[in-house]
Symmetry: C3
Subunit: 320 residues, 3 copies
């Protein structure tokens, strides 16, 4: 990494590596996470009817990664609760985002410039969380690259990976969607981070840790800011993914026809994966006009999760 040294970025990366996440960056993470929860369909109503379920859901959004990595490493699931200061901070954030008079906190934080800064700070915490997970796994399983990647990924993208069960807390159950079936951008970027940090930790990647932290952090922050400002949800890896997919997983020739068909249906997969009843209602609904049908509402909400992480982007855009 002579290039970095030439550019006098060595000191910067050292400085970054020594930045403490607590309290400002952690707080930004809580605010952005809980705002993302609040923008899920039905959550505002839930917050009035059942504050406890809403609080628990918020905590899973904030500490999902810690919970998931604790389960994976057989450490106490309640451990995140034992850090009283963090839980208190997250709880205050939760209260202010949902119940603040005149909705002041949410309205301010939703303003594009502030949201941009908060989201950027949240992206910075991702680096720390992924690295924390990788090191935690490294301490237990010295030489196992896979475990390090899995735990780093879980710690960085836990909220998304356990979203099925987080939704269950809120009384929502969408088995046809999960982050493994269709990865969202944050899950992907976290996976890439986990791979990079695991490779660095096992010295397969000849890079210093603080240099990698700087590069990864800058990349995630810049990319997220770009996505927020342009309102684009195009992943920067779309081309690579598509190539890998076509090369490795298009499969044997006898299934070429099937594969083509699959790729076509891939576009309207949302429709295919819907629950039978929702699907049926749509079929019927096509014939006649449907009033405020609860079924429609639900089938609409099926798409919500995919957009949840981008929701903030779009939401801010609308405000412009």
């Amino acid at each position: 990494m002579d290039l970095l040294e030439v550019l006098h970025l060595d000191e910067l990366s050292h400085g970054l590596a020594n930045v403490s996440m607590f309290p400002y960056f952690d707080m930004a993470h809580y605010i952005v996470s809980i705002m993302a929860l609040r923008e899920q369909p039905g959550v505002l109503r839930l917050s009035r009817v059942s504050p406890l379920a809403c609080w628990f859901s918020s905590m899973l959004f904030c500490f999902g990664g810690a919970v998931l990595s604790a389960i994976m490493l057989a450490e106490p699931v309640v451990a995140p609760l034992s850090n009283s200061t963090s839980v208190l901070l997250a709880s205050i954030t939760w209260y202010l985002v949902f119940y603040c008079p005149v909705d002041l906190v949410y309205r301010c934080a939703a303003l594009l410039p502030l949201r941009l800064v908060l989201t950027g700070m949240k992206e910075v915490t991702r680096t720390w969380k992924v690295l924390g997970g990788v090191i935690q796994a490294h301490n237990k399983y010295n030489d196992s690259l896979l475990v390090m990647i899995a735990v780093g990924w879980a710690k960085g993208a836990g909220g998304g990976l356990i979203s099925n069960f987080e939704q269950l807390v809120r009384g929502v159950w969408k088995p046809e969607t999960n982050e493994l079936l269709k990865m969202s951008y944050p899950t992907k970027i976290t996976l890439i981070g986990a791979v990079l940090f695991a490779l660095q930790q096992t010295h397969y990647l000849p890079v210093k840790k603080h240099h990698l932290m700087l590069i990864y952090t800058v990349f995630t922050v810049v990319n997220k800011a770009r996505m927020m400002l342009t309102g684009s949800s195009v992943s920067p890896f779309a081309a690579i993914e598509s190539t890998i997919h076509k090369t490795l997983f298009s499969g044997h020739s006898s299934y070429a026809a099937l594969t083509d068909e699959v790729e076509k249906t891939c576009m309207d997969k949302g429709a295919v994966n819907r629950t039978p009843s929702a699907k049926k209602s749509n079929e019927k609904g096509a014939g006649k006009h449907t009033p405020v049908s609860p079924v429609k509402g639900q089938s609409g909400s099926l798409k919500a999760k995919d957009e949840s992480e981008n929701a903030q982007t779009k939401h801010s855009k609308k405000k412009n």
Copy 2:
């Protein structure tokens, strides 16, 4: 607590604190829990078709708290199984409640006076379980009030908190209901107990442990007996809850209209939360007469859980 000493209750509370739960109180807990399971819709049929699933469900009703707190503290989930005597006792109870000739055991235990005594004894075990959970957490996390409350709550009300997964064992899946969304009375009283015992354990509550045990036990037993005898399911905390809810969680003014609406819909929330298909069938069903529709049957069973803990009360009342 000079008052207690004046009333010569000091010795009584010492005596109570030294009572062993095994075997009589534990047995009462098993009987009442398994009877509550048996009164869930569809369980009697399940017990004929699949005794193993029925047995496993019963064990989750009996040892759910131990299982949940084990998961939370990263202790072996099978640990409750290692106490052979308890499992044997619970299994015998399960067999007798479900398969006893002439249904003798269930019929006797369902008689109001006996059921009253058994339920009272089960309430006593709650104190021990909550306290056990709080102490268990205290040993691991010295100063964390939240962890102590969480584990105490889990140990005391585990069966209810994991009810979604207990139902899954029986092939029933009701994602729209859980104890966090809408707490039942036993879950509430256990949460209050966990808070009190955790405060006592950390010396924030200037009360001696055996005094608190006496007060809490008497309160739960008396209150449960009152609810059984009057057939009322009104929580003694309804007024306090309503006040807290209105003060803290009614939220910002701009959502006042929404909140009002929510409070109204709160009443028929069961209907709102139903699965789309069930909902739709009802809408249709309103127009024409519906025969013995399986959908109707299911939508009916959605309400069942809410009533399950009170079922025993009502059931006994009917016998009067």
Copy 3:
């Protein structure tokens, strides 16, 4: 076990007990497991759309037992991942079964003679896995027969027992079916094995370990081969089960009528347990002809799991 010694089987059993599962038997287990996954409805499409979910599902088919027993004993869930060689082997198998050019690997392995050999080898690994689980539990809980049975069973039949959650990875959710409600043949035989090995380990069964391993292995292999060759899915324990069921669980006389009804409805229980929407669509579908309805597709897939373990048998038969 003088009989075995007379038959000069002592050396054979010693030889068998010292056979290493890695790599040939493990590989056969991976191939047969992943082929069973591939034969589930919808999986081929999944493998094109979302290779990651497909890979994760395959790993759960291959290492489900290790994962489940790790959860039960509060050991790290990621532990199976730390054995890089096994994961690599399973991943290569997964890739070849799903994406091999000209579908060569699957087509070859699906030929009856080869499949027979592979399935036989997979059955051999069952003995090792059950015994491994029993010994693992024995080391933690010396004298608890129940824990040993539970862990042995979980390790041997884990893939089946966690099938609800394995399906969830693929976006499929069938709460009305699980291995406890309706045990498949492999789950049953594994339970029996776990009981036998646990009894042997605690010296209640006066048999030497290697003798029991030989007997159990021969029984499972021969029985599986018989089922594959005859295409029969009749369990060899059907008669015993039926007797036990009638003797112990037919229950009190007042429910005799119910029980009879239950036994009748047992046959078409699949229909009863279907999701309301599927059921309804069928009712309607009976009246008019249904085109390629997605609802029909799903209701069909509800039966699929029951047949999944026998699928290989039937599949091979069709090839004849």
